[in-house]
Subunit: 209 residues, 4 copies
Amino acid sequence: MKRKRNAKESKEAIIRKAVELFSTKGYDSTSMDELATESGLSKAMIFYYFKSKRELYEEVLCRVLDEIYEAVTKKSDTRLDAREELNDFISIYIDFAYAHPYLPSLLLKELSDNGSILPEILFSKMRRLFSHFSEILSRGEADGFFRESKAMVLYFMVTGTINLMVTTSELRKRAYERDETLDTCSECNRETLARELGEKIVSMLRSDS
Amino acid sequence: MKRKRNAKESKEAIIRKAVELFSTKGYDSTSMDELATESGLSKAMIFYYFKSKRELYEEVLCRVLDEIYEAVTKKSDTRLDAREELNDFISIYIDFAYAHPYLPSLLLKELSDNGSILPEILFSKMRRLFSHFSEILSRGEADGFFRESKAMVLYFMVTGTINLMVTTSELRKRAYERDETLDTCSECNRETLARELGEKIVSMLRSDS
Amino acid sequence: MKRKRNAKESKEAIIRKAVELFSTKGYDSTSMDELATESGLSKAMIFYYFKSKRELYEEVLCRVLDEIYEAVTKKSDTRLDAREELNDFISIYIDFAYAHPYLPSLLLKELSDNGSILPEILFSKMRRLFSHFSEILSRGEADGFFRESKAMVLYFMVTGTINLMVTTSELRKRAYERDETLDTCSECNRETLARELGEKIVSMLRSDS
Amino acid sequence: MKRKRNAKESKEAIIRKAVELFSTKGYDSTSMDELATESGLSKAMIFYYFKSKRELYEEVLCRVLDEIYEAVTKKSDTRLDAREELNDFISIYIDFAYAHPYLPSLLLKELSDNGSILPEILFSKMRRLFSHFSEILSRGEADGFFRESKAMVLYFMVTGTINLMVTTSELRKRAYERDETLDTCSECNRETLARELGEKIVSMLRSDS
DNA sequence: CATGAATGAGAGTTCATTCAT
DNA sequence: AATGAATGAACTCTCATTCAT
């Protein structure tokens, strides 16, 4: 009914809602009808701006990955020693995940599909982020701060854990209420997590151990 | 036309295929038609044994969780010290994940759906597994082998990493082929992963550090 | 609402209506919704019996061509001289066209699409009919009854004319009512047409002329 | 952005493309979007010049019929005897069809739609062409060159055959390649067709036979 | 004269689910 | 215990058409 005549705004409204819906309900369970209604535009408008549902989804995922990459690299400072940098990576990733609580599940879902249909552009954006992480580790090893380790495993220990902590926050709360002897970290906030994770990961890598 | 098998056999055939399909294609992308054809029964039969697609799915997930729980607790031996037990947990979980490479993605997906629709029975099965893990840690702390830590975070560091490593194996291979300077652990087998993860996690928890 | 539980009947009902609708309204303008309603079944049932709209359409066209071919070859008698046989071909084709007034337009439409998307099976059925016609001419030439001619051109003169006469019958009536000095053959019945066409075509081919 | 052309030019550009698209793809399969893009104007402009898709289509058909009529009557010379005039009609129609190979299928399609929705203006343009043809025959009969015949049937024998020969040219080539014993007139050019058709039709009408 | 943004209606197709047998 | 036949509701996507600028 309301007609906005502003392309940018409309497109933005679609993407905004798309991010929300895709991440809370998943790709399949998000219908274009719903997305249309929720974004205040007609279904036809979505297809006016995006060729297909899949294309819209890819646009959404690209955005997410770009945002993460930028957040993580912006503050990156090679003058710091690798331990501090790793700590920064972790806490920035956590900040990002908490600020966009719907995004991690998007990533988890995409990864757990074996990524077989992952289009090239997404694929390379994911690689870029891992590459950045990997370099921090290498530098740490070169400088004698870190002992040798599998970057990939470490990467999943960091990002996987964060993603899971964020997406399960409701679940963990529920579990705690059911059985208070179970410490599901239901009260953990981003600081607690950052400290716990950062400290544990760095201590795990300490080369003098 | 009508092959008379007994009920158990038919039901089993359905579940077996369901596990395979749900885990390789996901819930939404698995159609009852396909499941019927593949399991050699008619669609109507599936609905005869299971009230709905969702119910079947839950049955499938319960199975998976039971299997994991059994695998993990079978060898559990409280006479061992907690460090060894933790190591066992990790390697058994890894064995399980490699033996059923489709299951981890099921779990990841279910968790990343915010679990808000997770039915009670699934929920408690998940709790049970975490509870077991948590006890190992507590014992380790009590015995002075482990320093204090958030069990939940540790649990995700372990299971999340394993699940991700398994579900992304194809993806990591692809990424490595594209750029060989990137160590995506594409050659890692279960032993490598068990060693890397077990050792790192235990060393991270060492109380004397 | 009414549920017939008879596969053959249902499939037949669909095809029957499909023939009618496709030929009166064309492929594009016939909607599956309409076809469903008209045939007394649900849309889903159509897709239960036919994989796609296109497949249904092909089935319909195949039927038509088979029917024509059978009608035309059934009475074919090589003991007759080619002139009589040609006459028979014409009058049988006319009978068929008048008995199934919706079919000729289907054929015309399919042909006028340049047949570029014509699937192999349809293509060969069309060839088979032309081949039969062509043989009659050849025999006539061999026996000295017919002079040389382009079989293809003759074939279109015969079938094209018949198809057009049938599909335009309403139109010609209207035109005559508008202007009675115009002889649109609005009163022509199948006999008139058979005589006019048969005689003219044969006389045109007479070798002694 | 806004290329200011004059109205006539724009309108002409639209019709030109419309003729091409409607005739190669048919009415339904031609989308206004496509037409807009191809004609270098915006969709809205098309609706500015033509009330609806149907109206544009009618305009297109009218053009075609006018062109044919003019081509056919331009050279018409009542001093010639009817046999020559008939021959001229045929060869001019053939020239026209070969020069505009997309138009015949338009006409065939429109006719085979039972013409029930044929608007008045199209209807009368079609009548006018037939009327001209009819007069040639009448004159031929009056002058004793032609024996009696149904003008309508003859008209379809001429125009129907030509239209079909043109629209099926690809098809006939394909059929010949598949089976070289089949003479599909795949090499026939306009001269061959004009000779074959003209001579056959005139000989068929010869009153002294 | 010209357009980009917007839409309602409808297209073909799929799917979980039910029912008669 | 078993199935083929049936369906309503939903899905993605397209299209002719309109309106504000």
